[in-house]
Symmetry: none
Subunit: 118 residues, 4 copies
């Protein structure tokens, strides 16, 4: 999957979001080891320091756990993962609703539309 980095926002933030999505989508399963900083950085064609910063931020919210010597692993805290998923879902929904509203769809319209599509 391409990284698609744009220059109009801090790179490390985009890296964070990208990796967070990968984790929550199950691409990196809970408890698993994450690839090394160097590997990820080269993958994203980004300076290792930038990648490092992104991973540190992800540690701060608990999604990643640093094991000093053996790299980083994904948290096994299912509740935390669920919460983070919920957060992302909320963001997605908000963007979606905003776009639909701009197109003239009321909230009821949106609901009806989705029921129709499914």
């Amino acid at each position: 999957m391409p990284w698609n980095l744009s220059s109009d926002r801090p790179i490390y933030m985009q890296l964070m979001e990208h990796i967070e999505k990968d984790i929550l989508a199950g691409h990196y399963p809970p408890g698993e080891r994450l690839p090394s900083v160097r590997e990820l950085a080269s993958d994203a064609s980004v300076n290792p320091n930038t990648m490092q910063k992104a991973l540190q931020e992800l540690e701060r919210n608990g999604l990643l756990i640093s094991n000093r010597t053996s790299g980083r692993t994904i948290t096994e805290d299912q509740e935390l993962l669920a919460q983070a998923r919920k957060e992302l879902a909320k963001q997605s929904l908000n963007i979606f609703i905003k776009e639909m509203n701009a197109l003239g769809y009321s909230n009821e319209d949106i609901l009806a539309y989705i029921k129709d599509e499914f």
Copy 2:
């Protein structure tokens, strides 16, 4: 509203999408005159030729009408506008669903989630 052009996709396409959204959101009402090519181009910090190409593409699908000497106007064909709106809504929904699926939400989950939020 900023234009937020990224360099990873053809600029004229991004211009098209941006203007299409503006039209469908009612920012430029049907039958109204669009700002001149040069004005829009300067607004988007883009070469007039690039903006011209974007507008000509929008003309091709009927959303805009060029009046040689007196500028371009937005179509008054309500049906066409409705259809274009539907198309954009469908795209938004697809992206939304794809993201939700990646987060582990089934279609039923999505429906339940939205009902909950509204």
Copy 3:
């Protein structure tokens, strides 16, 4: 009617053809006086000398008659007109056939096609 002069062939020839068509199409009736050289030249945005040359050529094949003092008149020789018409018709047909042949139509195809269209 516009004159549509292109620069890839002698101007006077194009003027000749244009005026000949006008005469044979009855736009200038037989026996009638032709507009003055100056007038025609200004109409075609062309140097009067060039127009003059065109008219002289048309005199040589008999379509026009110069009356020294009172300008030029169109010939009343119906046979000559008929013959010229025939000549032009032949040219038109030849061009048409050539184009159709290039498109893969045989002479029989052409005949069938025209019958069909009429």
Copy 4:
């Protein structure tokens, strides 16, 4: 074959028509590769961008197919080719009829004339 571009109509349109005729006349067989944009442009003594525009227009109606890195090929859709041929034939016929009518030939006259010539 010379390109014979006149300045009284957009060049790219004349290029389109010229190339379309070449294709429909079988000068570039179906499925075959077209010369490169640059080659055609230099051939027609025209800017590559202008030639590009002409080719893109022909692509839009399906006559050409662009293969990003390996040049353009002529469509193999025989039906499309046949339809385009029909369209051109119709145009040729209309022009021919109009000219003949101007010369005083009725539609019956035209038919009789052609039968005579074949």
